[in-house]
Symmetry: C2
Subunit: 340 residues, 2 copies
């Protein structure tokens, strides 16, 4: 028997990207005619069948929700999954999870895999690479065929669907404001590179809080860390070069690295340096001193995403109704020793 060929194999054989194959099979005008026909002919020869969601949706309910997240070694995503599972199980739904590993290709392949009859709808958070490329055809395609998609945390304005987010800008603003309220005047931002939507928003909130309080904005105090291994050196340099009295870090690892580096050069946290981290996880809870964090309410985010998708799946005309919701989950500051 001839084995069923996959999207990935077609891409490899024809030396084109997975995205090109995927778009060609859907007759996308974005792909030149020659390539499109070549891909289609090849796929046909090997009996490749792109999924026909609309058809399968009519015939059955799998009572299964598919989740696609960028990574798994990440406390925030784990708590969102727990939140989804809670509501899903209460309503008799199962959950299957795929990881995009922050890769666009893996995200496309995973959606192809799950949409092929295994699930009724998707809950997903975009991979970094997808956000960077700005290519969302795999998602709009699924939605156009009538399968509901709920995005959470890492979302895009370019896809019309339900979304569950936090107000990253406002959350960052409030965190920085709380440092200012405690008398801190020279506050650094330790962040990642900008192409993930939430990173950009958090930076905006940081800048706005400074300006609203008539504090000078100094670009040298925004530290962008691309490689986690260089984190300690870069933060060490920041602490030695600039007389900062507070750090707002966009994740726990950056925050705990600030604390350890500060201790090494004789600074006391929180006396000399106050630290707040975005994302409440295990490190903040068990670090010494414990770290004040912005809680993203992962469980609540998961609860809401699951509720929205189940409501759509179970309403008679749910997946047709295009009054999409963007639900903003409230964040709150978990005050701990690093700012007290």
């Amino acid at each position: 028997m001839k084995k069923k060929i996959t999207l990935k194999q077609i891409a490899k054989e024809l030396d084109v990207s997975i995205s090109t194959v995927s778009k060609s099979l859907r007759n996308s005008p974005e792909i030149g005619e020659e390539t499109r026909l070549k891909v289609q002919a090849f796929a046909k020869f090997y009996h490749y069948k792109p999924n026909n969601i609309a058809l399968s949706l009519k015939n059955r309910k799998t009572k299964t929700i598919g989740i696609i997240i960028p990574e798994i070694v990440h406390h925030f995503f784990s708590t969102v999954i727990n939140g989804i599972e809670q509501i899903a199980n209460e309503n008799g739904y199962s959950v299957v999870i795929c990881l995009s590993d922050d890769s666009f290709d893996k995200e496309v392949l995973n959606m192809e895999l799950l949409a092929n009859g295994s699930i009724d709808g998707f809950i997903m958070s975009l991979s970094k690479e997808t956000q960077f490329k700005g290519d969302f055809h795999h998602i709009t395609e699924v939605i156009n065929q009538g399968m509901p998609v709920v995005m959470f945390d890492r979302v895009t304005n370019e896809v019309l669907c339900d979304k569950v987010i936090i107000d990253d800008k406002q959350a960052a603003y409030e965190a920085v404001q709380s440092l200012i309220d405690k008398g801190r005047k020279k506050i650094a931002l330790v962040t990642t590179v900008d192409y993930v939507s939430v990173g950009k928003l958090r930076t905006d909130g940081y800048v706005k809080a400074l300006l609203d309080n008539n504090l000078p904005f100094d670009e040298n105090l925004i530290i962008k860390i691309e490689d986690i291994d260089t984190c300690e050196i870069i933060i060490g340099k920041l602490l030695e070069d600039e007389a900062i009295d507070a750090v707002f870090a966009v994740n726990e690892i950056f925050a705990v690295t600030c604390i350890k580096t500060a201790n090494k050069i004789g600074l006391n946290v929180p006396k000399d340096l106050a630290v707040i981290a975005f994302t409440d996880g295990m490190i903040s809870k068990y670090s010494t001193p414990t770290i004040t964090t912005v809680s993203q309410s992962g469980v609540k985010m998961g609860n809401r995403a699951a509720k929205i998708i189940i409501d759509r799946l179970e309403s008679e005309d749910g997946s047709e109704d295009e009054n999409y919701i963007t639900e903003v989950i409230e964040t709150y500051l978990v005050e701990r020793e690093s700012t007290s």
Copy 2:
């Protein structure tokens, strides 16, 4: 259209357990005839079809591996998944993950869900409840139908299949021996309740190390924590009642709680109290002091489990060959500040 009924719904309607439904549908002699016939009649009426793996296996390869793990907010399981993904992706396989949430019923339902044509084989770690009940019919059933299963970490001798484990007893022995080598004489074990196989083995290793070194074995020094919320109080009591000079904890949270509690009552770690944790995760790496751990090599475990299942799936008569492997992955001690 009449919706397809699920295993769970049948169980609920007939007020029997999911396991009873599952066994009845397979004509298991464990279930009384009356119940068996009732379940079968009910399932037939609602057109419930138990999966027929043997049939579907002949017709296609999904090139997908299913993973079932007990929980996701757990660094060890996350690293195993990363290890599986690495090898799977290199070999053109996709991976889907389901969580049993340490529940027997969810494990059964997830296997039923995935075995229904979505995957070629399972990599799994048993739920606590499955280990406690000792009911493995859902796994043997899948294996008997020709679908390969590789178990890792939480395994059972009662199922014949490939397994990837660490030598928990030996790893615990070596950790305790390293404490003794550093001159520690009164070593406590902070562990969980016994029904998870690995917990029992780690306790055995602890006891053996003491006896081999002619140190007295004192049952009062074995602390079993069932509820994480009581962890601090119980450890506080241990430190106050017993003049211990070292703790071997079976997970990071117990270890970091020991350190924080010791600090509170004026003990210095490592001077007054040395601490080793089983499982190398984020807390140990970023705690102050950093914590010496037994690394379970999660990535390596995942790599090996994936390699074994792919070899079986790709060999001509792989899934028929019953020369099952139990591969023991080597652990090693990651020495950090808490024992130096």
